[in-house]
């Protein structure tokens, strides 16, 4: 195999996070290579290093056999490497032509450059089957068309190596098929392609070779025709040592929260949530597994009242919420729904507030904390001290700025705050993101204790082992839908397949 790109022992850390650990791989020229892995596997970081957005701490990059230094995207472009990002770098109010030409105008006056670009674009469109109207405004294009513009941008600059980062994340199934036809055409013309994805279907359908990454390392390399989805899924999630929790069996009680045909559509018409049916009963932990970006965030937003659903209904403790009768977070709290958000820095707390102030976020108007017009600061302080005591938050200083606490202690404080309200329903997003091992165990035990006290707990997590150890029932989300439900103790391979969008072997082979 002639390698277009070789990466040798690439290493990269961000502070204490070791994102890429000594990765070596080779990208074959003129072929489509896939890199598959879960969240945090390191694939995006690795490609960002290749594209010059980050600089590796150690290791070597070779293009066409020659070692190169990638200090910026400029260098990458100069070596013929182009990247199609997950979030498009397109200017909505510009035309396609203007977006393509930006940075490669070919001279101080636009007229000549644009004319030359137009001709070149037409050629590219013909040769590679990328049909886009050069004079259309990007804002008016569909997402699939916008992605084609990104590809055109990259080809226009003479890229012979294309990196696509989760390209189908924003596409409809039909657009995804179109994309892969385009990739096939590109391959025929000798373009080298690297495809980063978490979706098995795409790997199987489009790639020639595949690398599986897990926790910053390459754990396997296969020729795609020689492998199959089950094997890849297993490699992707791995045989992990499960954090064994001593858990009594659940005693599910009454239904506290019920979602029926819940749907959420954004301004563009993209279905963020698609026909979700879900029941939460007191006394059980339901886990939602899945790679991030498949609708879990939106689900939490709708369930907690931050966003109203577009279709379907949500019934919580007697109140029915739908598009015509939206709720709001304050009301949900009054109904007994507590929410530990996924992004505690942005939603769950205010970094500049003292711990005691963070301890009442969302509950600051409750009678125990505010009498008539004034906040009952002594009560707030005492409350915070109690929370810190119960959840072992260190240091036990209610007056300390929230940002001064470690991630684990911050999360414990947020969790303590929500659980202290004795909620009927507890929604938890990424409970142990950025949290140290000791705190992880503590948090898990508290969630189970809450369940045993009768609370209906929903845990959303991208960490599969967390779901496996906590949940009594597991739902898997993919592309805004719940694609399957399994009981606790389920086999990882099945879960891996569902998370990667391939149907379980039990169902007959649909398009998957």
């Amino acid at each position: 195999m002639t390698a277009a790109i070789e990466l040798e022992r690439i290493d990269k850390s961000f502070g204490s996070v070791h994102a890429v650990r000594g990765v070596s791989l080779a990208i074959e020229k003129g072929a489509i290579t896939g890199i598959i892995g879960e969240n945090g596997a390191g694939k995006s970081t690795l490609m960002s290093i290749l594209y010059g957005l980050y600089r590796a701490d150690a290791g070597e990059i070779r293009v066409d056999g020659r070692p190169v230094r990638m200090e910026s995207p400029h260098d990458a472009i100069a070596h013929g490497i182009g990247m199609v990002h997950q979030h498009f770098m397109l200017i909505d109010s510009f035309t396609v032509l203007e977006n393509v030409v930006l940075g490669a105008e070919g001279g101080p006056l636009l007229a000549k450059g644009k004319a030359a670009a137009r001709a070149e674009l037409e050629r590219l469109e013909r040769d590679y089957g990328l049909a886009v109207d050069s004079d259309a405004l990007v804002a008016e294009l569909s997402v699939g068309e916008q992605q084609r513009v990104e590809i055109l941008k990259v080809l226009f600059r003479g890229a012979r190596i294309l990196i696509l980062d989760e390209p189908s994340a924003v596409l409809t199934p039909q657009e995804t098929d179109q994309l892969f036809r385009i990739l096939a055409t590109l391959k025929e013309r000798g373009v080298t392609i690297v495809l980063i994805t978490h979706k098995l279907r795409e790997i199987m359908a489009a790639t020639d070779r595949v690398y599986v990454m897990r926790q910053g390392q390459v754990v396997a390399e296969r020729a795609t025709p020689a492998t199959h989805p089950e094997e890849l899924a297993e490699l992707m999630v791995g045989r992990k040592v499960r954090l064994q929790l001593d858990k009594a069996p659940p005693h599910p009680g009454e239904v506290r929260l019920k979602a029926e045909h819940l749907g959420l559509v954004d301004r563009r018409g993209v279905r963020l949530l698609d026909d979700i049916d879900l029941e939460l009963r007191g006394g059980e932990i339901v886990g939602i597994a899945g790679v991030s970006g498949n609708g879990q965030t939106e689900l939490l937003q709708v369930l907690s009242g931050i966003r109203p659903p577009s279709t379907g209904t949500l019934t919580v403790c007697g109140r029915t919420i739908d598009a015509g009768h939206p709720g709001d977070p304050a009301e949900m709290r009054d109904l007994g729904v507590a929410h530990v958000p996924e992004d505690r820095q942005r939603q769950g707390m205010v970094a500049a507030f003292r711990a005691s102030e963070t301890a009442i976020l969302g509950y600051h108007e409750q009678p125990q904390f505010s009498r008539t017009f004034l906040l009952n600061l002594p009560a707030v302080g005492a409350h915070c001290a109690r929370l810190m005591e119960r959840f072992d938050v260190r240091p036990r200083v209610p007056g300390l700025r929230s940002s001064s606490f470690s991630g684990g202690n911050q999360q414990k404080l947020v969790l303590a705050r929500e659980m202290a309200q004795q909620p009927k329903v507890l929604l938890v997003g990424q409970p142990t993101r950025g949290v140290d091992i000791g705190a992880i165990e503590f948090i898990h035990r508290e969630l189970v204790r809450s369940r045993d006290a009768g609370c209906a707990v929903l845990v959303v997590s991208v960490e599969l082992d967390e779901i496996l150890s906590l949940a009594d029932r597991i739902l898997v989300m993919f592309a805004g839908k719940i694609v399957g439900e399994v009981a606790a103790g389920a086999d990882e391979r099945t879960l891996g397949l569902m998370m990667a969008g391939a149907k379980t072997p039990v169902l007959s082979g649909a398009e998957g």
Partner: protein
């Protein structure tokens, strides 16, 4: 620029602002030297002019009163993440409200009723003038900075029209209203410009402190200012909070009218906001958006105003506009160039840590 690591807390709150002010004053010193005056001599005259006699202290505090009102106004809005540049206009219209209440009622009400009514009217009108840009921002997404600037000019035009055509005292040559009755005279403190409005200003400081840190609405406002997403998560209606924050802000700025019209001029006049609204931005920035800091900063600015006036009497080469220059430089260094000294300070702290 490399990512900024925050300095130790005391350095952020005390040292950095002091360095910013020092830079501003050094620049002023350079300008003064270019004009041909000894900067240290000028500084001495300034300090004496501001604090040298009971009379000058009185004037310093009278100016400081206005700066406290506008400084508080900017800071309250700022805690909600809103930039209220409309202090000039809100002060103007607040004064209008106060004046209208007085002109209507001063012949019928005793002083202990007239003054509270005047104060309430000033606050109400100031709040109303801020409410329109606030509503436009909250419900229609209009950039509050631009709308408040525009409203300053509209206020000025409105006041000129009213003073010249409607409220002018019969037989007067200049656009000013008839004199207020004594029932609308804010009791003086010490014989000249200083009046009880200072007490009102200090009361407002306490009120703002209580509101921001001791009430649930102040809590929600601060949450919105730090982190709108967390505020939504906490169940706050961002639009209503915007209105609340801006109206409070406008009300505070409007109280300048109390100090100026009921306290000193005893009639409605033109141009009394005289830059206090913009200076309020500097006062608020220097005071770190905290009432205590604002009082200190306001006294500093009051001293600059009074001392600067004396300075311009003593040294013919320096006009009273020097005060404006100092204000501008303080805003520049404390507001726009606030991060300028950071690399040097960080270097200093790194040195200390390594030694």
């Amino acid at each position: 620029m490399r990512a900024r690591r925050p300095l130790p807390a005391w350095a952020e709150i005390v040292l950095l602002p002091l360095v910013n002010i020092a830079l501003a004053f050094i620049t002023v010193g350079i300008i003064v030297r270019i004009i041909g005056v000894d900067p240290l001599h000028a500084l001495e005259l300034l300090v004496v002019g501001a604090f040298g006699s009971p009379e000058s202290i009185g004037y310093t505090l009278y100016y400081a009163t206005n700066f406290i009102f506008t400084g508080l106004a900017v800071s309250v809005a700022f805690h909600g993440g809103l930039f209220n540049i409309g202090g000039e206009g809100q002060a103007y219209i607040g004064g209008l409200g106060c004046g209208l209440a007085v002109l209507a009622l001063d012949r019928y009400l005793p002083i202990w009723l007239m003054i509270p009514v005047g104060i309430a009217a000033a606050a109400l009108f100031g709040a109303a003038w801020a409410a329109v840009p606030a509503w436009l921002q909250a419900w229609r997404g209009s950039h509050i900075v631009i709308t408040t600037i525009m409203f300053n000019f509209v206020a000025a035009a409105l006041m000129v029209y009213l003073m010249v055509n409607v409220l002018i005292a019969p037989g007067s040559m200049t656009p000013q209203s008839r004199n207020f009755e004594p029932s609308a005279f804010m009791p003086a403190m010490g014989g000249n410009a200083l009046n009880l409005s200072l007490a009102l200003a200090l009361l407002c400081c306490v009120g703002v402190w209580v509101f921001l840190w001791h009430t649930p609405w102040g809590y929600a406002l601060r949450t919105m200012g730090h982190n709108p997403e967390a505020a939504i998560y906490a169940g706050t209606d961002l639009r209503r909070m915007t209105m609340l924050g801006m109206c409070l802000s406008g009300a505070l700025a409007g109280l300048v009218g109390v100090n100026e019209l009921m306290g000193v001029h005893h009639r409605i006049v033109l141009d009394f906001p005289a830059g206090y609204g913009f200076a309020g931005i500097a006062v608020s920035l220097m005071g770190r958006n905290h009432p205590l800091g604002i009082v200190l900063a306001a006294v500093l600015f009051g001293a600059l105003q009074q001392g600067g006036a004396e300075l311009s009497f003593d040294i013919p080469n320096i006009t009273r506009e020097m005060v404006v220059v100092i204000q501008g430089l303080v805003i520049l260094f404390s507001g726009a160039l606030v991060h300028l000294p950071r690399p040097w300070l960080q270097g200093l702290f790194a040195l200390r840590r390594s030694s």
